[in-house]
């Protein structure tokens, strides 16, 4: 520590000036406790989402209908593990270990994106998740490349590039299936019908019901409101659906020339709250899977630690 005499007020002023200049806050910089907690909550939640998100698609690797699709899906789920790795690393710069974060996930003390609490029921879901779920995730994440916390922003740049690639692959799977048989086209439409509303929920509750938005925007952690991003997603997705030849299950969806945007209906926010609170179709299953994998692997991690310690001791001796 240097001897600079810095009052709490002085540090706070510096911090706020950095955020106001759109500069990055780095791990060694002073930051308000609330900021640290909020960034940690968001980065950890994001890392957990990548890891839990491996399950709904990963379950189809062994059933992929062609070897090429199998390779694409394996590589994609592997990318998600990679995203989890660097997001956990970003979270660790805030002073919490991956092990602690994993325990908070399996204990239910930290959350992950609710979309992964919906089941994947056909191979078309692999495509729909790529197109709509990864698409919504990119909408949320592209602005985060400019987020105020440096390690998070840099991780997001890499994540976004790969997510964008996944989105195209998902869309391409659906486009290929739409050129196949009637049964395949029906499979795609059924999948899109099922995932459209949960995808809209990914932007979080409406702005007037979003408790964290205001502070997070002031701190430069969050750059757009939930409703802004949701609108952007709908505006982008409608022409893509038309090109694909599928419809969205929303009778209120129509172009509003006055606003220059699509009008659309509201997701079932009661269902959203159910899923957020742990009562979604797959919440218990996803956490149980993660907990089992973590616990089953404990003896392997212990062995690696013991082995490394022994090697170190033998090197010294």
């Amino acid at each position: 520590m240097t001897t600079t005499d810095v009052s709490e007020a002085g540090l706070l002023a510096q911090f706020e000036a950095t955020v106001a200049r759109n500069d990055r806050i780095e791990p060694r910089d002073w930051m308000p406790d609330g900021y640290r907690r909020t960034v940690l909550r968001q980065v950890a939640q994001h890392a957990h989402s990548e890891i839990i998100g491996m399950q709904p698609e990963g379950g189809w690797i062994t059933r992929a209908p062609s070897l090429r699709r199998k390779a694409i899906l394996l590589a994609k789920v592997q990318d998600e593990a990679g995203h989890g790795l660097y997001l956990y690393s970003a979270a660790e710069t805030l002073g919490v270990s991956r092990q602690e974060l994993t325990e908070m996930l399996v204990d239910g003390r930290q959350k992950y994106s609710s979309i992964f609490n919906y089941p994947t029921l056909s191979y078309a879901d692999v495509g729909t998740i790529g197109w709509l779920v990864d698409g919504a995730a990119i909408c949320n994440q592209v602005p985060l490349c400019r987020t105020s916390y440096g390690p998070y922003g840099r991780a997001m740049i890499r994540v976004c590039k790969e997510e964008s690639f996944h989105q195209r692959q998902g869309y391409e799977l659906l486009a290929t299936m739409m050129r196949g048989t009637d049964a395949q086209r029906a499979m795609v439409q059924e999948s899109v019908d099922r995932f459209w509303w949960p995808a809209l929920m990914m932007f979080g509750p409406p702005d007037d019901d979003s408790p964290h938005t205001e502070q997070s925007m002031a701190w430069g952690i969050k750059r757009n409101t939930n409703d802004d991003l949701r609108q952007r997603f709908v505006d982008m997705s409608v022409p893509q659906a038309e090109a694909l030849g599928v419809t969205f299950p929303d009778p209120d969806l129509r172009w509003n020339a006055e606003r220059g945007h699509y009008d659309f209906g509201q997701p079932d926010w009661t269902e959203f709250m159910q899923v957020v609170k742990g009562n979604g179709p797959c919440n218990a299953q996803r956490i149980a899977h993660r907990r089992r994998a973590h616990e089953d692997g404990a003896w392997v991690r212990d062995a690696a630690t013991a082995f490394a310690r022994r090697e170190q001791q033998e090197a010294i001796a």
């Binding site: 592997q78 395949q184 392997v300």
Partner: protein, 316 residues
Amino acid sequence: MTPTPDPSHEAGSAYDGLLEHHEVAGDDSQWAFGTDFEDPLAGVDTTVPDDVDAAALATYCLMLGDDALVMSHRLSEWTSNAPDLEEDIALANTALDLLGQARLLLARAAAADASVVPALPAGSPVPAEDALAFFREAGAFRNVRLAEVPNGDFAHTMVRLLLFSTARLAVLGRLVDSRDPVLAAIAAKGVKELTYHRDYAGRWFLTLARGTDESHRRLLAALDELWPLYPELLATHPVEAAVAAAGVGVDPASVAAEVDVVLEQVLAVSGVERPDKAALAGVRGRTGRDGLHTESLTRLLAEMQVVARAHPTGLW
């Protein structure tokens, strides 16, 4: 035609081009795996040398290809289940490498002798590699039984991968000199991959052997369980003898000694004794290479083939 929404959103760049690319047919350079199925052997001369029995060559390719496909399947079952993220990624990587080898070998089998490919309804767009992977019955699979037995714990997977990759690396190390340029090229690619797989499995073998009491105990249990399947990797099938004599394939028995040396080294440095276990019997001498499998293969295939078989004219 729906009006195009305002494209001025500054951060939407990840989407730019999605529709345009969709409309510009043929411009698919941005897709990593291509927008359409491409013959993995496109542009390669797949003519079988005159003095080589095409049927034997195709069967030999199925043997090597099925080993890779089935082993890849078992490894891919670890996805989201591994002890740590690094291992999840490494196992998926290994599964991907073997899947890539399987695709090339199945395609090579089909190109050498089209009669090995199951018949599908007229007009089916299913490519040969997928017809072979998804529409053959278990009895037509030529993989060794070691590749197919169900996963156990992480020690079980590391022991299996060590035995499998050590033997396969030795075989492909010779196969790079095959008179069939396609097999030689596939082998050259595989050698690099398998060198890593063997190293990965060998390092974990040592780590588990010298880690904790529990890891040591689990490793020995896995080794005992899998050792009876090891000799099958190195036994000579008549098809292998024939392709080896023709200079296109490798008789695994010819690399048995070098495989054994490598395994002895791993066992020695790990302080583990070589198990005293007899080779697992076959049925009237028939084993995996003859299409005689354990009960687990039909279950594995039921899962692997379920979606493809429901859509025999499907386009994926």
